[in-house]
Symmetry: C2
Subunit: 368 residues, 2 copies
């Protein structure tokens, strides 16, 4: 049986290669080399797979229009795992993309039973404030709330006419006890992905959806539906890239429902120190053993913090890696270093949040 990827579970898929083979996702490695000014996420194979990225690369190189579509589901606090997509968006914004940013308040409401009002507040005070503070220019994005977009709702109903229950059952494992809002929800997600290509927006245009691998079911469905609706809308199949899921400090996926697994963007210095101290590493059982045998960075969550977020410079990272593997750098010191980096980042982020907070209300208003 194929490995099932469920965007709504907390489990981390172990075998990326198998997933890629099963679902026809291509390796990103070679195309990263052809990409001008690739981000650290591209260079380090954190973005490891894609579908039709060639089309986007061509648009970037020829300076043609293209769209980046992404969503944020307001639920709980934002952590470093969520930051990956923001880093990707900033890269695309630097490369002249038109960014469509969907606040998936209906998804929070339907899959997490969060009221639409709470979802709205979380989106504004937590997510959008962080996005802007991290460096994304929201004023340049096409930002909307799912529950308020007539266009998306209508498109979902239209496209849903072409998708039957058996198909959704096969993709998402729905059954008789699945609630009907959840059953319909994937169509809203598909409409989010495809609506920038409607004539009233950009018309048929290359578009890309940068996602975690857990979101691939929505992408496959969106591409299937785009194919079926080609005669009606002339949709160009949406491209996608897949990034690894940020590992949690305690193993598994970094998740806001397990606070010890995550570094939140609004964590205090004390919280960070405690969490990093408790984090799983790739070190030996004793300091002596580690000095002799060296550490295993690829099994180390602290190392992944450097790779994903803290050390964008490749040479600096390589040095750290060598120091670990040779036994020169032991876990205690490495954790102290990580805490220093993290605290610098979080302190700076706090300052940025403060200055963003003043204008975020106006940004939302301008988009309504």
């Amino acid at each position: 049986m194929a490995i099932q990827i469920d965007p709504w579970s907390d489990s981390i898929p172990q075998d990326y290669a198998k997933l890629m083979e099963d679902f026809g996702i291509k390796s990103f490695e070679k195309i990263a080399e052809k990409t001008p000014d690739p981000s650290h996420l591209m260079r380090r194979k954190i973005i490891f797979g894609h579908r039709d990225f060639e089309r986007i690369l061509k648009a970037i190189k020829k300076e043609n229009d293209y769209v980046v579509m992404t969503g944020l589901m307001p639920s709980g606090r934002m952590h470093l795992g969520h930051k990956l997509v923001v880093d990707e968006l900033i890269w695309y914004q630097d490369h002249d993309a038109k960014i469509y940013l969907c606040v998936a308040d209906l998804e929070s409401h339907i899959t997490r039973e969060i009221s639409l009002q709470e979802a709205r507040e979380a989106a504004i005070n937590e997510y959008l404030t962080n996005f802007q503070a991290l460096g994304l220019n929201l004023e340049e994005c096409n930002l909307y709330f799912q529950s308020q977009s007539d266009v998306v709702q209508k498109l979902a109903h239209t496209l849903g006419n072409k998708v039957n229950f058996s198909e959704l059952k096969a993709i998402y494992g729905f059954g008789g006890d699945s609630n009907v809002s959840h059953i319909f929800y994937p169509m809203i997600d598909v409409a989010d992905i495809l609506h920038p290509q409607l004539e009233e927006f950009e018309g048929p245009t290359p578009s890309i959806v940068p996602v975690g691998i857990d979101q691939d079911p929505h992408l496959r469905l969106a591409r299937d539906v785009a194919r079926r609706s080609e005669n009606d809308y002339g949709f160009i199949l949406p491209s996608s890239t897949y990034h690894r899921l940020m590992p949690g400090l305690t193993g598994g996926k970094m998740s806001s429902s397990k606070p010890k697994s995550a570094i939140f963007l609004t964590d205090s210095i004390e919280e960070v120190e405690k969490k990093v101290a408790d984090a799983i590493t790739g070190g030996g059982h004793t300091v002596e053993e580690q000095k002799k045998e060296g550490g295993s960075p690829d099994e180390c969550i602290i190392y992944s913090l450097y790779v994903y977020h803290l050390m964008p410079d490749d040479e600096e990272l390589l040095e750290l890696r060598k120091a670990c593997e040779s036994g020169k750098l032991i876990c205690g010191d490495c954790k102290k270093k990580a805490i220093k980096f993290l605290n610098k980042f979080l302190k700076n982020h706090k300052k940025n949040r403060k200055s963003v907070k003043k204008k975020i209300g106006k940004i939302i208003e301008d988009h309504s």
Copy 2:
């Protein structure tokens, strides 16, 4: 097995008594007697069943607020069968109801594959123009298009969290090949019915949905969902009345998909003459036989035209009935009389449509 009522099929349920027993619908006969100034539809048992009409009667008698909720599905041309609901609405408007009128453009779109734009045009030029021309004061109604109501969409998603696929399968017979928009649609209908009771509208208020018996599945679902959401919203269970389905001239239900079965509100004199001439009657095989044995008005579609629409005066109707049963009035003459009545009505309606057409645009605009 219980008789299944399917709002989306063209078949006419034969056994109303059985339906009432199976689904707990009460007879309207006794409560009609307690109703002040009952309409001809009430007096003649065309409205034959109800749920909780007592609550509405009380509101009418005490001059308390109450809501009438109804929808129109823009699909094809409007015929005498559609006129029943309009007559009911006019009665309620005369009895101080707050009328919520939903243009079910999503229903046309999803169940009939009519584009939302076509549905909008049909709603305005055909349905709403006719409603106003028949005497309903749309300016006093709370009129909205389903596809444009954020509130209804949001409520549908919220309430859909409490309804699972198995339930909808049992009510509507959905299966693996049902399309997902159709599967979700009943939740929109439920949200239409319940949304007038949201705090931002009337708050919890007695409400009534006058429908054809084929719409009962939506009502049962709406009442079930209202019960489950009582703690969240305090909904008062919506009341309902059930009217018989207007018989078609050629047998079965009057349906716009079978033009010969229906008198359309915009039919020409020639069309009406032809259709009435071809209609099924309760007459004998020969004029001689009929003069001797008399006719059977209860098997006669022409008689039902008088009962449902053409002869609101009960004494006049009784005289006609007696003349038929005694053999004094034969079918040919009775049809001529019906044609005369119909043409008078349609000519008058045409004139009214003309004068309404000028202001219908503004009425729609005022409601947007």
